[in-house]
Symmetry: C2
Subunit: 237 residues, 2 copies
């Protein structure tokens, strides 16, 4: 019998912010896969899950580089998929760890697609996780959305899309802000959203920072694990 | 010493999809508050949390009617806030249960504001939960967002806002779809998003349904705990 693949969201950083279901699955699987930007680099996802793993669990490190090169990425996903499939074919149950939620900007979604394509007979179960933006809102004591408000989750990339998203009435979560931080600051300023915005870095980790005067950070290097929540309404921050 | 208020997300329905942190807090508090649409109505949030509560815990039912009448709502929030504050003033720690995540369309955000205003000295901690849309995506095996894609979370209300949100390149989660379901179906059809959309009802509960041919449901009454995920890209569903 083939093994089953679990995609597991371990949450944003605090080991207590993992679900009971994830803990139960992690105790049962034979292999846990840990995505790594480069070989030997310590994994935050593994650190979060560490206390919930059985002692004899096999750790499978998968190198998934942080690159914009599509060919390189696809090769890495393919390699990772093959390594996981090898374990599944042996009948071992495998958990793939992912920070936050596996449905939101996760490498797991690409790797699981490779496996689905190569081996459609493999059973796959995805276990959702707490997103960084839910925790950021909770830590700041500010709701993300109320009543009939809408929410836009947007990674910073195309500048015009960013500007358009700030014009509307939506609450906005900006991800990957370190890519173009000074432009983001100006955009918040120009759309009169600065007073209702705050920045959260390394949410749920011991280095967590919540900063309300974002304008002062212009010109500084921002930790890549940072996001901005921009409330449209006159919420007291 | 005053008690502390915890806003706790219990997740979308499956009791295993609660966080370890929520479980730990629920075992320690003296009082658990359960929002109810009407007196005596069984509470799904309480059912999810039930197994994690200590035997001698005090249950405080708070009637928070599902109405669009703003005056009635504000009176109910005020009443609920006063009842909770009474417990906190006695030095009891209180947990307020909320389905899904407390930051996303939760009554908790209004009630906690009342308490903050009346008693700013009270310590409040919000514990995030798994959202219904993260679980819906996980159950369907489809990512919500990848790469530089954006995500719009939108409760169905204003028809023009709905139409505008479907024109763009974003992935869209439509909430509260039962309010205007046939219009939603037509809007998905006209924006050529029907093939990449699916509907999830009662996600994580035993009545869970995942339906891919949404057009066939036109004219039917839709369970109010339903949402639609509309993927913009040619994802295989």
């Amino acid at each position: 019998m083939k093994g089953k693949l679990f995609g597991i969201g371990v949450g944003p950083g605090d080991p207590e912010l993992i679900t009971v279901k994830a803990v139960n699955v992690l105790k049962e699987v034979a292999v846990v896969c840990v995505p790594q930007a480069m070989p030997g680099k310590p994994s935050l996802a593994l650190k979060i899950a560490q206390d919930y793993l059985s002692e004899d669990i096999e750790i499978l490190e998968l190198v998934l580089p942080m690159t914009e090169n599509q060919d390189e990425l696809e090769r890495a996903w393919q390699d990772a998929g093959l390594k996981i499939l090898e374990q599944l074919e042996k009948g071992k149950n495998v958990a793939f760890l992912t920070l936050g939620d596996p449905s939101i900007y996760s490498t797991y979604s690409y790797v699981s697609k490779v496996i689905k394509r190569m081996a459609p007979y493999i059973e796959i179960e995805t276990i959702p996780g707490i997103t960084s933006f839910s925790l950021a809102a909770a830590r700041a004591g500010v709701p993300l959305v109320e009543k009939d408000e809408s929410l836009i989750i947007l990674p910073v990339g195309d500048r015009q899309i960013l500007l358009d998203s700030l014009i509307g009435e939506s609450n906005v979560v900006l991800m990957k802000i370190s890519r173009d931080f000074d432009f983001v600051v100006d955009a918040l300023e120009n759309s009169e959203r600065m007073d209702n915005a705050f920045l959260v870095s390394r949410c749920g980790q011991k280095e967590e920072k919540i900063l309300k005067n974002i304008g002062n950070l212009k010109g500084q290097k921002i930790d890549y694990m940072s996001l901005i929540i921009s409330k449209n309404q006159g919420e007291e921050l």
